[in-house]
Symmetry: C2
Subunit: 354 residues, 2 copies
């Protein structure tokens, strides 16, 4: 039961930690101002994306040199397109429509199917080919939705800092300010980046369709819109060999880009509402009822940590369930039941274990 | 500077709060065991969905009796489909393909476009109609992605408890346990619910296409898959009047259902990873370094609230930015700079304001 009330920093006074120190209280001259919680040692373990997806340790693979997101994407995409192209090449006689080169058409059909564009310029006409298309479209949706979306998000985030830098070129601001600006308005800059990419993709697609596929400019633009939204009416599509090679890459980029655009729109909306809520929670008046509710250890006052928990709970960042989970762990660790953890609790805990 | 160290519950001792109470310390016989943070008064203000979307106060409307989510959806959907059907009805002579009834075809074309199915059985063939279709598909995507998805999520959540109840019918469990079970595995049960709905929609669609549209069973199933995934090759589609009425509702339900299915798959994946991370954070050994890092107010010991903040930060639930924001507010409120908030701080704060 030693040193429960010790008021000195732990590491310097662990040796002479005695009950005598209990009398020093919060009003004493040695009291320091509150400081920040030092960085938890697991910072790189902590999820950064909106889905809170924590990267768990991975086993090495042939795509070892790539960033984890890209390694995963590269593996999935290669397997999917490889198997898909092979399957549709084998059943190429059971697919009817405008044909060019066997392998090329199979790959093009595979991309048009996985992105759910589905022009209908090539359609399966046997039971086998139809069921194959059905299974590939479901797998393709999962691949685009679950894997490509994350990779795209990572790419956009990478280019974001460049954009912020470019936007602030005329002002003389340091690297730190740029990073801070990008952090605070992350979603907004992501939306700008993806909008810029979208303009590039729409223009390049329209120009390509007008020049290579010889479409009327309005038809070219209409085909671009119908493709990137995955609408794919099919009255206008890629019918030349060169066109289908271009389409393979362009459709994938375009559809993912539009999807990310809508994703960021939703995120921005959510973030704005959250900001409004945070502002409201932080500026509203504290009352005695709040003080009592926030007083976690019932010592009659609310210290900084208790205040933080109360406010973050109000903001909806943490739930009662989160708090209860950690509290259970705390009560296990607090071997001497003093209501606080100190070096002696850790030592006592180790000795009870052994 | 009075009563910074008061150790009694606030509301009972506010009157006789004097510096004399400062001497009572954490080891005293009056110390209580830690209790839960009482519910913040803003519980209903706190976002519950994964997007953290907080419902802000709304102005009354003609859809006033509906739940906010549905009111919004009903308004958007009515306006979109109304304007869309009207527009495409006006340009009906500039749309070519298999036609039935003018208004019906316009509404059917509108749904096929907004869900990005785009069969191509009806295609715009003038510049005006093409540009109209382009603008409607973008608005439709936004509507389905941003609005319908949330309404669907709300509906699924409502039906979830019913499902959990049905699954536990043979066991004698109380209402509370059912709710708790549903809370803990919310995403999993959402996925079950949506899977069940998907089976119903796929079966009903296949049966309808086989009986009313007289399609071969394989073709009917193929058309169902091609529709709900928004692929819409267009070699098989709804060509009768009755078929297109059914299609209007069924396509909307089917495409939203498949989208939710993939959304919940992604959520479940994220939740499982998060659970693994939470378990890892809670079971890993605390060291002296952790104790020192967690000690927010540098008093040499880690109390419950500090421990909670440290662990939640490790879990990635809260960030340093969140903590800093609230700390600023805390330091403003702590008028007497005692490092704790008490009733006297509130009174002092009010008097400085006035």
């Amino acid at each position: 039961m030693a040193c429960n009330g010790a008021r000195e920093p732990l590491l310097t006074r662990v040796a002479d930690c005695t009950p005598a120190n209990n009398n020093s209280n919060r009003c004493g001259p040695n009291r320091r101002r509150i400081r920040r919680v030092r960085s938890a040692p697991l910072a790189e373990f902590v999820p950064k994306d909106i889905n809170g997806d924590a990267p768990l340790p991975r086993s090495p693979s042939i795509f070892g040199n790539l960033h984890p997101s890209f390694r995963k994407v590269a593996i999935f995409l290669t397997v999917y397109l490889g198997v898909g192209t092979l399957c549709f090449y084998i059943v190429r006689n059971q697919i009817s429509g405008k044909k060019t080169n066997g392998i090329l058409d199979a790959a093009y059909f595979c991309v048009v199917t996985m992105t759910t564009v589905g022009y209908g310029d090539l359609v399966p006409n046997s039971v086998l080919a139809k069921l194959l298309a059905c299974s590939f479209v479901f797998m393709g949706m999962a691949l685009v939705g679950l894997v490509l979306s994350k990779a795209a998000d990572y790419l956009v985030e990478k280019q974001e800092t460049m954009l912020v830098k470019a936007l602030h070129k005329h002002k003389r601001v340091g690297q730190t300010e740029i990073i801070k600006e990008a952090e605070t308005h992350r979603v907004r800059y992501k939306l700008y980046t993806v909008s810029f990419l979208l303009v590039v993709l729409i223009s390049s697609g329209t120009i390509f369709l007008a020049t290579v596929e010889k479409l009327d400019p309005v038809d070219a633009f209409y085909c671009v819109c119908s493709t990137i939204t995955t609408l794919g009416y099919g009255d206008q599509s890629f019918s030349t060999e060169v066109g289908r090679i271009f389409a393979g890459f362009w459709i994938l980029a375009g559809t993912v880009c539009v999807a990310q655009f809508f994703l960021y729109m939703a995120e921005l909306n959510t973030e704005n509402r959250r900001r409004a809520l945070v502002k409201w929670v932080l500026t509203r008046k504290m009352t005695n009822v709040d003080l009592e509710a926030a007083d976690l250890n019932e010592d009659g006052v609310v210290d900084a940590a208790e205040f933080i928990i109360y406010k973050l709970k109000e903001m909806g960042k943490i739930s009662q369930e989160d708090i209860s989970l950690v509290m259970e762990e705390f009560e296990d660790l607090d071997v001497d039941q003093s209501g606080t953890l100190s070096a002696s609790d850790l030592i006592l805990g180790q000795s009870t274990e052994t």
